[in-house]
């Protein structure tokens, strides 16, 4: 049991400031990630998955505030956990972690590089900031990294500007940059959403390879269940700021418990449905706005098994239904 966890998030609450009020965006997220594993974080737009991810590196904008909760990061050598939620967002401690032991890949490969500096400069910058190496060594390492992620002619590519790179190449360069200091945790926020399927497949394979080679743990955020199924060991499903279900990928796909997960899997066009000529079953209604969050379980107005007086009362707790498989739904907490 020693050092099972790399990261544990406990009751994380994030609120958005609107005028003088704070509106809860993330209402109490519990997450745990074991060392060397890939956790998929799935949800629709606006469910709080990106905000949760940004808060892990304290990258939230001014309007967003961590109201409560702990983000315990255990690091590699197994010494005392750091509570990231307590660090100053601009302090030295978090800057050491950012890009060093935890790094992040963003959705838009087009806007995540500065167009005014060469790719090589931007990767070298990270290396020099965190590792005590000379300029020449940093450049060597950069070229090596670019070769690793499959960018041809890396000795020349290193001096090119991001404008000369295609979307797929930029995302690969981004991965090279993120992995440059061999972080123990990589947060990937929709890393393949802006890419074509063939390139998506390449990026997914690259991430899997890198994970195996460096032993990096990954938090993989996506709205695409198919993609998450391919990379993640464990999946957490988010809906309106809460994790409604978390468990091993296989179980989530084969025996989903929470009605939202069940409905989501039935609503996605998948090739199996093509063979069976099955009609998609859409989830009724839409995701409510932030200002009109339903009481109790936020999913209850759209849920087919809504129980009046129970579901619209208090918010259901995340309970373990089988090993490592947790669900927040009153159907399972009798």
């Amino acid at each position: 049991m020693t050092q099972r966890y790399l990261l544990r998030v406990k009751n994380l609450k994030i609120a958005l400031r609107v005028d003088k009020n704070f509106i809860p965006i993330v209402g109490g997220v519990d997450l745990s990630l074991e060392s060397g594993k890939v956790l998929g974080l799935v949800g629709e737009s606006g469910c709080g998955k990106s905000v949760t991810a940004l808060s892990l590196l304290r990258l939230l904008s001014k309007e967003l505030k961590i109201e409560d909760g702990k983000i315990l990061f255990y690091g590699q050598n197994g010494d005392d956990a750091v509570d990231i939620a307590r660090l100053k967002p601009k302090g030295k401690d978090i800057q050491k972690i950012r890009g060093g032991t935890i790094s992040m890949i963003f959705q838009e490969p087009m806007s995540s590089f500065s167009p005014l500096h060469t790719i090589g400069y931007q990767i070298k910058e990270v290396i020099q900031l965190h590792l005590n190496v000379s300029k020449e060594k940093a450049r060597e390492m950069t070229i090596e990294l670019l070769e690793r992620v499959g960018i041809g002619d890396a000795t020349h590519a290193v001096d090119r500007y991001p404008g000369a790179f295609s979307g797929g190449m930029r995302q690969r360069a981004m991965i090279a940059k993120a992995l440059s200091c061999t972080p123990s945790l990589l947060i990937a926020d929709e890393p393949t959403t802006a890419l074509d399927v063939t390139i998506q497949a390449q990026i997914l394979k690259l991430m899997r390879d890198m994970q195996q080679e460096f032993g990096t743990s990954i938090i993989f955020i996506s709205h695409d269940l198919g993609v998450v199924g391919q990379v993640a060991d464990e999946v957490a499903i988010m809906y309106m700021g809460y994790i409604v279900e978390q468990g091993p990928t296989k179980e989530i796909f084969k025996i989903p418990k929470h009605p939202y997960t069940v409905n989501l899997l039935a609503a996605i066009p998948r090739l199996g449905n093509l063979q069976a000529r099955k009609r998609l079953e859409p989830i009724k209604g839409t995701v409510p706005g932030l200002f009109s969050r339903p009481s109790g379980c936020a999913f209850h107005p759209r849920c087919n098994s809504f129980m009046s007086g129970i579901c619209d009362g208090a918010f259901p707790e995340l309970k373990e239904v089988s090993e490592n498989h947790c669900v927040a739904c009153y159907l399972y907490t009798q």
């Binding site: 629709e44 063939t198 390449q202 090739l271 093509l274 859409p282």
Partner: protein, 349 residues
Amino acid sequence: MSTLIEVQDLKMYFPLGRANLFSRHKVFLRAVDGVSFKLQKGETLGLVGESGSGKTTLGRAILRLIEPTGGRILFKNGNGVTDFATLNRSQLRRQWRHMQMIFQDPYASLNPRMTVKEIIGESLVANRLASGGQMDERILDIARLCGLNIRQLSRYPHAFSGGQRQRIAIARALVMHPQFIVCDEPVSALDVSIQAQILNLLKDLQQELDLTYLFIAHDLSAVAYACDRVAVMYLGRLVEMATTKALYYTPRHPYTEALMSAIPPDDPELPMQPVFLEGEQPNPAHPPSGCTFHPRCRYADTERCVTEVPRFREVSTGHLISCHHAESLTLTGALEHQIPVEPEGAENA
């Protein structure tokens, strides 16, 4: 089934200027380069391909929202055949009521200063098709059919969610009872739980109103669900066209094979074995010679691939391919044993 639209050798070139300052030679970007296909009445033809392959340009050129450089667009309407490419502006305006378009981004495609009712009714007014009470009735009919709340028609688009807005866009396209609709990525801007609603709505409307769709999308699973036949585009040309099942499970063009192998399987236990394409997508302004796919193709071995442009021809019934090796290659399609797992939690939910 009868043919509704026949596109012959459609070309859309965008001028890029001269090769160099002193050259007389002008450079063109061949966004659509000699595309031909037929659309049967009442079917949905999917159009897939990488970004930059010319899918959207093709859709727009068919409707002449941009002026095609060459080719014919034959539209069979009742008794006669009209070549859409030769019509002048006023004739075109009259024909457009039969052909409409649904755009990708419902946040950008609706005028924020018009109420929903005005948006849906605008084309009726512009074409003097209806007025007064008759117009109201038509708007209400179509709004109801598209699943809009008819009490909210006097609101402005900002009051609606993405899915609702796409319904408004669909109602606007359908109000003139068109026969043909180009759907350009109609669900890619929507949330996953909403996509199914719109896909089903498009299917229901097709049955009810006998519509023909050209369905442009990059999400291969959504295309598989929505389309009867699918065409694959690469660098401005069609490389393969077949029924959905044939294209997905028995592709015959190497590019289609790569696409299909990259679809994440339904079952997370099935390992994905994608065929990786070498290199990057070539610059469409300077496409490779011969078969434009040859630099990335793992089967390209002959001189022919480099020098000769393959003809887009019917290799078996209804299966068209442009590859010199189409007859001899055996390719793998999408993983076939993807039977949906019946969720055990379903009866509880």
